[in-house]
Every structure is written in structure tokens, then in C-alpha cells.
């Protein structure tokens, strides 16, 4: 009868071993005590001895395979003897899948402890009973856990006292045994809070308008496609504000009134002329240049935001730009005509101004196809240090959002500084 050869246990901590080398070949005669194979354990390589005479009939585990202790690795028997059907479990690292579900007994009659253990390990674990949930902990009105000693809780429960009503006098305000024993419930009073209806929260769904949908689409596209970076400067508008005052006084009869925004448009145009990169579109393999400077102006309408453009701003004076902008705004609001397709789609640079809302600064989202957008806050009287003295100045913060695919931070800074230089030197706005 053929004898099973199993992965030997060669140490107290050995659970699996690798057949490093077969020292006998299939068909080779083996004598009791012969070294049959080299077994590699975690610690060393040991030689596996034969415990019976015979012929190595069949090797089931090739060299280099790791198998659990006790797994069948070869058959020993008489030459020509037929190997029983049973073969080794799929070889592989020790794991639930690799474990034989019910290992056959060793050649002796009783199963080995190892085999028994392996069998037990593959049996399903009994479900662990869920521990009972702990009793709810009293909570004070400010949401903190009430600190009370175990005996204080026990006594309070026994006497039907709401422990959260007991004042703790122990260390750290802990409610102690004596606090509960000395507790006298206060006479019950009507609720002290004034009967005031809570404000109603309006919780209704708002259907998206087509403009809202467009805004959603466009801003997501911009933020998804164009990696934004932001550069902010503080612009001293003191001189420009004075200049604007003089200019508007001079223009009073013509009915023209130049706004801060008009001057920002002019300063932007001047700066773009010097740094035309900010008048391009990122086009995959190139920055597509534009022959005109079309400044998009963010206009807040009741239905939402639109950014129509002032077309061909290059060469226009601040007064001309002012006139164009007023006209654009009117038409955007449905007065004196409509916006052209060109105005709605051909902007090359954007400006968004929230100065009228007393906003200090903010960052705008670039209109897709443009390289940058300038966001300006309110012009505010601010103490500044000039020549070592503190002075009051008209300060406005301007933030440029740039498409990083088009320009880098330093370029954005240089460009924004140019806008600042224009805004701080009103003479340049007259060029």
C-alpha cells in the first residue's frame, strides 16, 4: 500500500514549508532514513527524512512551492504500484482557499492535531452575539455628557431622579453620590422660554432657467478645462478718483459720466496692448491670437450673469469706452436694442466688478476661450504708509484669474502690475 508523504512539521512555529529541492526522483528507491527533500521554513532549510522504505512513486508538489504543514506532497510505495486518486490540495501560500477542507487521516488511524485544526479552521465561525447596546448616557442641555459617578447614576436611577437636573459638586463638576442623595427637585414652573414661532425655512425646489443651466455648463467647463491661478494687487486709486472727478465735471454738460469701471476697461486695454498674450485663446497646440481687443463685461441681470463684450476696444479713449459700455449695459438689460451674437461670443478678455457691493476682493471664473478675467472690489478709503507717513488713500483690490495653460504666475503678475500702473497714473488712461 502506498504511503503518504506530507509536508513535515519541523519546528514549533512552522505552519507551512517550501519544497526547496527534491533529493529523490520519481521512481527512485528510498530507504528509511534517506533524505528525500530539502524543506525551506521561515528560518532555515531542513532535510526531510523518509520514515519508510519504498520507491518515490509520485511527486505532487514541485520545487519552490509553499504548502501547509500536513499537506500531501508525495507518494511512497512499491515499484509500479498505482498511486491513489487523492492528490495534494492546490499548492499555494497558506490561506483559507488553499486549506484542504477535510484533510484525509494520516497513515495511522487517528487524524493528527494539525489536520483537526485545519479542519476546524475551515468550518464556519459561529456568529458572534451582538453585545447589548450600552444604556443611553444622560446629556446636558449644551450637549456635553453629564459627568456623574457610577454610584450617583445608580442611585439617581433607583430614586427616579433625572441626573441631568442634579448639580455636581465633585471634582470637575462631577455629580457625586452625595449630590444625588441631597438633591431636591425644584418646584415645577411653566416653561421659561417665550412663545415665539420659529422662523420658517423655505424649502422648495427651484427649476433651472435656461440661463442658469448655461451658467452651470460654462462655469463647470471653465473650471474643468482651464487651470486657474490668481494674482491680487492693491491699487491706489487716489489720483484716478480725483482725475475722474475733474473729468466728469468737465464732461458734465455732455451728459457723459465716466465710471471707475470705464477706467478699469481702459487700463486693461492699455495693458493688453503691451502684453498681447492675455488676448489669446488656448487652442490645444497653440495660443490663438485675436486681432481685436474685445473686453467682456460681467453684467448681473435678474435671470443671471452674462458677459457681453465691448468690441474693438483698441484705440478707443476712456470716454468712448465709457459710452460703449453704457450702451452695452442698456442693451443687455433690454433697453435700446439687443446684444449681437458677436458681442455675446467674441470677448477676448473679461472684467468683473463687484465694487458697488462693498466687496474688498474676489476671484472670477474665466470665460471659456479667454485667457484671463480681472475681478475688482470696491474703492475704499484706507490708511496706507507713504514715504514713512500714514495717509488716507483710495484703495481698490484687483484680482486677475489666469488660465495657467496660457500664462504663468509671473506673467500674470507683470500684466496685473501694468493694469495697476495705468490705474495709478491717470495720465496713461488718456493715451
Amino acid at each position: 500500500m502506498a504511503t503518504r508523504v506530507t509536508m513535515p512539521s519541523m519546528g514549533a512555529d512552522m505552519t507551512e514549508g517550501t519544497v526547496a529541492r527534491w533529493l529523490k526522483k520519481e521512481g527512485e528507491a528510498v530507504k528509511r532514513g534517506d533524505k528525500m527533500a530539502e524543506i525551506e521554513t521561515d528560518k532555515t532549510v531542513v532535510e526531510m527524512e523518509a520514515y519508510a522504505d519504498g520507491t518515490l512513486l509520485k511527486v505532487l508538489v514541485p520545487e519552490g512551492r509553499k504548502v501547509p504543514v500536513g499537506q500531501l506532497i508525495a507518494w511512497l510505495g512499491q515499484p509500479g504500484e498505482k498511486v491513489p486518486e487523492e492528490s495534494g490540495a492546490p499548492a499555494g501560500p497558506l490561506g483559507p482557499a488553499a486549506r484542504p477542507a477535510a484533510p484525509p487521516p494520516t497513515s495511522a488511524s487517528a487524524p493528527s492535531p494539525v489536520a483537526t485544526r485545519l479542519a476546524a479552521a475551515s468550518a464556519p465561525m459561529p456568529a458572534r452575539p451582538t453585545p447589548p447596546s450600552p444604556p443611553p448616557t444622560p446629556v446636558t442641555e449644551d450637549g456635553d455628557r453629564t459627568k456623574a459617578s457610577p454610584i450617583a447614576r445608580k442611585l439617581a436611577e433607583e430614586q427616579g431622579i433625572d441626573i441631568s437636573k442634579v448639580v455636581g459638586t465633585g471634582p470637575g463638576g462631577r455629580i457625586t453620590r452625595d449630590d444625588v442623595l441631597n438633591y431636591k427637585p425644584a418646584p415645577s414652573l411653566p416653561s421659561s422660554s417665550i412663545n415665539r414661532p420659529a422662523p420658517k425655512v423655505i424649502a422648495q425646489d427651484i427649476p433651472l432657467t435656461s440661463m442658469r443651466q448655461a451658467i452651470a455648463r460654462v462655469t463647470v467647463r471653465s473650471k474643468t478645462e482651464a487651470p486657474h491661478f490668481y494674482v491680487t494687487v492693491a491699487v491706489d486709486m487716489t489720483d484716478t478718483m480725483k482725475f475722474r472727478q475733474h473729468l466728469n465735471e468737465a464732461l458734465a454738460e455732455s451728459g457723459i459720466k465716466v465710471s471707475v469701471n470705464d477706467m478699469i476697461i481702459k487700463a486693461s486695454v492699455n495693458s493688453i496692448l503691451k502684453h498681447p498674450k492675455f488676448n489669446t485663446s488656448f487652442a490645444g497646440d497653440k495660443l490663438q491670437g485675436h486681432a481685436d481687443i474685445n473686453i467682456g463685461i460681467a453684467i448681473a441681470l435678474e435671470q443671471g450673469l452674462i458677459v457681453p463684450a465691448l468690441l474693438k476696444c483698441q484705440g478707443k479713449s476712456v470716454v468712448e469706452l465709457s459710452t460703449m459700455a453704457r450702451d452695452l449695459g442698456n442693451r443687455a438689460r433690454g433697453k435700446g436694442g439687443t446684444l449681437s451674437q458677436q458681442e455675446l461670443t467674441q470677448g477676448t478678455f473679461g472684467i468683473s466688478n463687484l465694487g458697488m457691493f462693498d466687496v474688498v476682493s474676489f476671484a472670477a471664473i474665466i470665460v471659456p476661450g479667454q485667457a484671463a478675467i480681472l475681478a475688482t472690489g470696491t474703492v475704499k478709503k484706507t490708511p496706507v504708509v507713504k514715504g514713512g507717513e500714514i495717509e488716507v488713500a483710495d484703495i481698490m483690490h484687483a484680482t486677475l484669474s489666469c488660465d495657467h495653460r496660457v500664462a504663468d504666475g509671473a506673467e500674470g503678475a507683470v500684466f496685473l502690475t501694468e493694469i495697476k500702473r495705468n490705474l495709478e497714473n491717470p495720465a496713461l488712461l488718456m493715451v
Partner: protein, 325 residues
């Protein structure tokens, strides 16, 4: 009833055993001709002869191991270690032999032996001679461990140890050999594994053993002046531990403090505190207050040593912190 010191009580117990049981013999360093480092066996050699009173070489591991062998062969050795600090060199024999033999032989071998050793700090003996390893040995299954703090307990526990079937570590508080107390006449015994309530009170339970009892009794006096009645419990037996007595006291007082004159980390009193949290959590009015020696090697300098030892003030401060009393 007679007034004896702890030293005299132990002497009485040893002499009784020598007289009543021919299998009892005593061995240790300088116990014979010298009379014992703490004079417990003074005059024994002359009275009982060299077969029964054996001076040993300074080989703690070997004479304790030899005691195990003698006990396994049916004798009842009483071994004196000059200081429990020296038990360290014999731990293999105490733990692997005295404690494990019975279990690993499947109950075939008994080791009825008493190991006496003075223990504790307070005499400026510095790091190597001031330790309290009874608190380590109390963790070892297979041996028992007792520590008396009164003459009556010393005699009663020694009698029990001398008739026990196991090795008993008999830790004698080194600074308390001269403590006097009433000892009943007759052959009373104190059972191993039973704590003693040395002072009754309903406000707070104070637990310790050995030298710690002196501190607890002083603290109880101070508390009494403020109208707080402390119940003072002496473990007496570190192994087996009598939690029932302590838990019963805490049911009454709702407050507990453990005091360890050994280093506070990991000692037997830490175990008592842990078991109290386990067994009496619902009865406690705050965390178990713990006082123990500082976790440092024992210093030689008097002030430093006193600083490391727990004092009455520490007990009171700890009660304030845990219970606000």
C-alpha cells in the same frame, strides 16, 4: 494574650515548627552562627543544631533550588533570603521550579516551602536593597504570597504557610520587625487569601499591605478629624487576593484608595485598583484613588528616599482629586 513584636511572633512560629515537625529545617545566609541579618533566627543554631539550621553560601539561586528539591522529596524547608531584593538572582528557581513543578508534572510534585524575606524601602539602602519584589512574585501562579503588618498576623500567617502544600513567599516589612501588638494565645491561624479590616468606617476604603498600613492608619486619623471615617483594609495575602472583603467595603463607602509602598506601576495594588473598577464600578463615586512609590530606582539620600515614598499627604491629596473629600 501576649504583647509581642513582629520579630518575636515570627520567631515563635518558626520555633513551634522546628519543635513539632522534624521535616522542618531552616536555611539561608547568616541565619545560624550570625543569628540572622534581622536577628529573627538568633540562638536557633545553638538550640536546634546544624542539621536543622543551615548556614548557606551566598548562592540564592542554589539554596532556593535546593529547597525546592528538599520539599519535593518530602521535607519542609524554611528559607530566609536576606532581602527580597536578592530574590532576583533566584527567580528562575522560584518561578520555574517552585511555582511550575506541580503543574508541569501534572500534580505529581508538591513543593511545600516557605521563603521568608524582608522587604521594602525606607532605611537608605539605595536602589539594590530597597525593592519590594513580593509584588512581582504575587503575579506567579503556583506560589502564594503573604505580607503581615501585625504580630498576630505574622504568627497566624506563618502557621498557615508552614502547613500549606505550596511554596509561600512570606514578605516581612523590614522596617516593622519591632512593631508591637497583642497576639492571642493558643494555636490560632490566619488563613492565606483573606484580607483584614483593621479599622472600620463608612466613608472611604483605604487598602494596602505591609509598610503601607502605617501610612493608611495615619491618614485615617487625619480624615477622622474632618469627620470622614475611613475603613482601613490590609491585604495580608497578595496571592491569592481577597477582593471580596475590599468590594464589600466599597459597597459601603463608595470610595476607594489603594496605596503601594512599592513602585506604583504594575504592582499588586494596581491589580487591586483594576479589579475594583471591574467588580465595583457601579458602586464607586469616582475613579479609584491610587498612591504608590515614585517610578524611580530607590535613592540613597534620606530626603530623596522620603520623597519617593508615599506619605499621608499623598493619600489625602489623591482622595481630594478622586472624590473631592
Amino acid at each position: 494574650m501576649a504583647e509581642l513584636t513582629i520579630r518575636q511572633a515570627i520567631q515563635r512560629g518558626l520555633e513551634e515548627a522546628l519543635q513539632n515537625d522534624p521535616n522542618v529545617f531552616i536555611m539561608g545566609e547568616d541565619i545560624g552562627k550570625y543569628g540572622g541579618a534581622y536577628a529573627v533566627t538568633s540562638g536557633f543554631l545553638e538550640k536546634y543544631g546544624p542539621k536543622r539550621i543551615k548556614d548557606t553560601p551566598i548562592s540564592e539561586a542554589t539554596f532556593i533550588g535546593a529547597g525546592v528539591g528538599a520539599a519535593a522529596a518530602g521535607l519542609r524547608p524554611v528559607i530566609e533570603i536576606m532581602s527580597i531584593s536578592f530574590s532576583l538572582v533566584a527567580f528562575d528557581q522560584i518561578v520555574n521550579m517552585a511555582a511550575n513543578l506541580r503543574y508541569m508534572s501534572g500534580g505529581q510534585i508538591k513543593v511545600p516551602m516557605v521563603i521568608r524575606a524582608p522587604t521594602g524601602a525606607g532605611a537608605q539602602l539605595a536602589a539594590t536593597h530597597s525593592q519590594s519584589f513580593e509584588t512581582w512574585l504575587a503575579e506567579v501562579p503556583g506560589i502564594k504570597c503573604v505580607a503581615p503588618s501585625t504580630p498576630a498576623d505574622a504568627l497566624g500567617l506563618l502557621r498557615s504557610a508552614l502547613s500549606d502544600g505550596n511554596t509561600v513567599i512570606f514578605a516581612e516589612p523590614a522596617q516593622m520587625y519591632g512593631v508591637k501588638g497583642d497576639v492571642p494565645d493558643g494555636r490560632f491561624t490566619v488563613p492565606i487569601g483573606k484580607a483584614s479590616v483593621q479599622r472600620s468606617g463608612g466613608d472611604v476604603t483605604l487598602v494596602s499591605y505591609g509598610h503601607g498600613m502605617r501610612v493608611l492608619h495615619s491618614a485615617a486619623e487625619d480624615l477622622a478629624k474632618r469627620g470622614i471615617e475611613a475603613e482601613v483594609v490590609d491585604l495580608r495575602s497578595l496571592s491569592p487576593l481577597d477582593m471580596d472583603t475590599i468590594v464589600a467595603s466599597v459597597h459601603k463607602t463608595n470610595r476607594a484608595l489603594t496605596l503601594d509602598m512599592a513602585r506604583r506601576t504594575g504592582g499588586i495594588m494596581a491589580e487591586v485598583a483594576a479589579r475594583l473598577q471591574e467588580a465595583a464600578s457601579d458602586w464607586l463615586d469616582g475613579p479609584v484613588a491610587r498612591v504608590g512609590a515614585e517610578d524611580v530606582p530607590w535613592p540613597y539620600n534620606r530626603e530623596l528616599e522620603q520623597e519617593a515614598l508615599p506619605r499621608v499627604e499623598d493619600v489625602l491629596a489623591s482622595l481630594k482629586k478622586s472624590y473631592g473629600i
